[in-house]
């Protein structure tokens, strides 16, 4: 049971240590991947207009994309900056693109450890060979420039989800590295993630004892809402919670948790205040309509509370403490929420002030460190 305690000591004391469940490390430039790419692709990128994916999940200069202080200093950048557009190069090093800036801003500032979840948009590449070459390069870059340099970090395997058999192959290739704890999947996919089309990927994730990290974003080529394409990024940003809800519906309905019972999922940058009401509706319809999904033998909400954890940002919470506790009561689990900065992203509201200080000591500790520790093995 979640209890509210306003602890004056907590408010004035030094910030407690956290485990940061999501840092969105980005590739600094095309050339940064050259040490990890086959000659064919280096040549292709040097000789043609193809420089890798061009459609990031966040518009590059959007107010939510990168906070102040998230660009590495020049001396923190290992790879040369060339290979980016002039406009991008003029803005400075890519935010969150070097281990140094993450050490400075996150690890040395009070995080015991952190989980990298790169938003590199592999899924936007239609060419399957480019997709697998670049995914492999990003993962090898993560090993060399992040995991081997900073033991407090863990990371997510980037995969071309658009071609499941290639995604499986990449998972198998690098899952042995102890630093990889998760497979990063965009929440927007061409088919709902529970679809049998993706079951080989779920199988590989489970067999390799990895977490499926479903993160904000995706470039699958299908519209981001059931009514097509909205005009503004603000809409797509808000509507993303609906895609997270849709994916939970699919993953449970298609029996992912039944076929792969050790599946563990992290919802990354989804918000959590919508989850309770969604589970009410889903449980209600399951009761009515479970005839065609007989493998779902228990209410969907039970599966979700057992298998799924959620980062706490965006908070999307009321300011009123009483209603915050109602939202947590609706969520119905102390074990789901995980602190995450989502560095370098910008979110509204301070998690300590808006959420964590309302919790009992035990639950606050779960949110700050213990739920992520249990999930990721810190």
């Amino acid at each position: 049971m979640i209890e509210a305690q306003i602890n004056d000591d907590q408010r004035t004391a030094v910030r407690q240590s956290v485990i940061d469940a999501a840092i969105h490390n980005d590739v600094p430039s095309t050339r940064a991947l050259f040490p990890y790419l086959p000659a064919f692709w280096i040549e292709h990128m040097e000789q043609t207009l193809f420089k890798g994916p061009t459609e990031p999940y966040y518009p590059t200069n959007s107010p939510v994309a990168a906070r102040p202080g998230s660009r590495p200093n020049e001396d923190e950048v290992i790879a040369p900056l060339t290979g980016r557009s002039r406009a991008a190069a003029a803005a400075g090093p890519t935010p969150a693109s070097a281990v140094g800036v993450v050490r400075r801003e996150i690890l040395d500032a009070g995080a015991e450890g952190a989980v990298l979840c790169s938003p590199y948009p592999i899924d936007s590449l239609h060419n399957p060979d480019a997709a697998i070459a670049l995914a492999s390069a990003v993962n090898d870059w993560q090993i060399a420039e992040w995991l081997d340099k900073e033991p407090r970090l863990k990371a997510s395997i980037v995969v071309p989800i658009q071609i499941p058999e290639l995604a499986v192959r990449e998972i198998e290739r690098v899952a042995g590295h102890p630093g990889f704890v998760q497979v990063a999947l965009p929440i927007r996919t061409a088919h709902p993630l529970g679809s049998r089309i993706y079951h080989s990927v779920w199988e590989a994730i489970e067999r390799n004892n990895l977490v499926a990290g479903l993160q904000f974003g995706g470039m699958p080529g299908v519209p981001p809402t059931p009514s097509g394409w909205p005009s503004y990024f603000l809409e797509e940003y808000v509507d993303m919670a609906g895609v997270f809800a849709t994916q939970l519906t699919s993953i449970v309905s298609e029996g992912v948790f039944d076929r792969f019972p050790r599946t563990r999922i992290a919802l990354i940058e989804s918000g959590f205040s919508w989850i309770g009401p969604h589970l009410w509706r889903f449980d209600k319809e399951w009761k009515n309509l479970r005839r065609l999904i007989p493998w779902v033998k228990r209410p969907p909400s039970e599966y979700v509370r057992e298998h799924v954890k959620v980062t706490i940002q965006p908070l999307d919470c009321p300011t009123d403490r009483r209603q915050v506790m109602q939202v947590l009561d609706q969520l119905g689990s102390d074990d789901m929420l995980m602190y995450a900065s989502h560095f370098p992203r910008v979110h509204a509201g301070d998690p300590e002030d808006r959420l964590i200080r309302h919790l009992s000591d035990d639950v606050a500790q779960k949110v700050r460190t213990e739920n992520a520790r249990a999930l990721y093995g810190f």
Partner: protein, 361 residues
């Protein structure tokens, strides 16, 4: 096996009046529209059929309650007299809002669509509104072809028993997009609401991650579809352009409203420079302009959580209108829909006063 239980007549004498925001006047078949269609279109339908963008059909287990079937054997809900006897009378329904689910508004052939829309509205006037004064109706129109939609609205809007313009739950574009603004202008001019009824599709996959496999997913999805449409209406500035317009969300659930308001406000606080035309907090627009019907009513996991939800709604709880969805398989019985223990004043408003105010009844 479905058994029909006798309804007690004594119920009628003691129960308070009800207003129902989602009552389905059903066709027995498309032939019900033939008296209102030219022979050119009858022949067309018989030969080439009706045609919307394909791929959105998730077979149901049943559409209608068998115990609502008229003695004639026609489809449940297709006879005004039987619907009155079976539902309006025993439940003391003072007014019910007809929402016709027909091929009108979903056709690829826009000429056919316009003919169907007019036929549906004429059918509603003759076979529902005229014989049954407790009913009000939604205007069927070619939402994906706004000039035709506006023409149809102009044709029937003088009949004040039409109270709103009907959209499906998943039109071709998010509902706030400029394409639809001529419809909003016409609706606002005539004091009509804009109503979005769950389900349907005009060609897009029914989720933001492609096509799901199972009917249960179609049935859980309306909340996500409705939110995308509400977000669009607010963000595009529809409610600034048409400040009197009301948006009625039917059969999309309502548990999602508080979290959407928190989320939209937080996102807007960071991204407002993308939408400088928006002068107010998104939640303010939502609180003023969004109305919701109850069915399928939310069933929280713990007693007390429904009251919590009403607390989060605050004054906006006055925007919640009872709906039965009669005679569909998942319709809500007015006596059992709202939870035991819910504040009696809120319950009474949901059952009557909120609908009365919304529809000027």
């Amino acid at each position: 096996m479905v058994q029909t239980l006798a309804r007690s007549e004594s119920r009628l004498k003691t129960r308070p009046a009800l207003i129902d925001g989602d009552f389905h006047n059903e066709m027995n078949s498309i032939k019900d529209l033939y008296p209102y269609l030219s022979s050119r279109w009858k022949t067309h339908i018989e030969t080439h059929g009706v045609r919307g963008p394909g791929g959105a059909y998730y077979p149901r287990f049943m559409d209608h309650r068998e115990d609502a079937r008229p003695p004639s054997g026609r489809v449940s809900g297709s006879e005004v007299g039987w619907s009155a006897k079976d539902y309006l009378d025993p439940y003391n329904v003072a007014h019910a809002i007809c929402i016709p689910l027909t091929p009108a508004g979903r056709q690829l052939n826009f000429e056919l669509d316009a003919a169907l829309a007019s036929a549906v509205n004429d059918w509603q006037i003759n076979e529902w509104l005229n014989p049954e004064p407790r009913l009000r109706a939604s205007i069927a129109c070619s939402i994906e072809n706004p000039p035709a939609a506006v023409a149809e609205i102009e044709r029937v809007a003088h009949d004040k028993r039409f109270v709103q313009v009907q959209f499906s739950g998943r039109p071709q574009e998010p509902m706030g997009r400029r394409k639809y603004w001529p419809i909003y202008e016409a609706a606002a001019k005539h004091g009509l609401h804009i109503m979005s009824h769950a389900f349907g599709s005009y060609g897009n996959p029914i989720t933001g991650a492609g096509w799901p496999s199972f009917y249960v997913e179609d049935h859980v999805g309306p909340a996500q579809a409705a939110q995308a449409n509400v977000v669009s209406m607010v963000t595009e500035g529809v409610f600034d352009a048409f400040p009197t317009l009301k948006f009625v969300s039917v059969e999309n659930g309502f548990g999602w409203v508080p979290s959407l308001m928190w989320r939209m406000d937080a996102a807007w606080s960071l991204l407002k420079s993308e939408v400088p035309h928006l002068k107010r907090l998104p939640s303010e627009y939502i609180r003023e302009h969004l109305y919701l019907t109850t069915q399928p009513v939310e069933e929280p996991h713990k007693p007390g959580q429904f009251a919590d939800l009403m607390e989060q709604f605050g004054d906006m709880a006055d925007h919640i209108v009872f709906a039965s969805d009669y005679p569909h398989w998942d319709s809500d019985d007015p006596d059992f829909a709202l939870p035991v223990g819910l504040n009696e004043e809120i319950k009474a408003k949901i059952h009557y006063e909120n609908g009365r105010k919304l529809y000027n009844l």
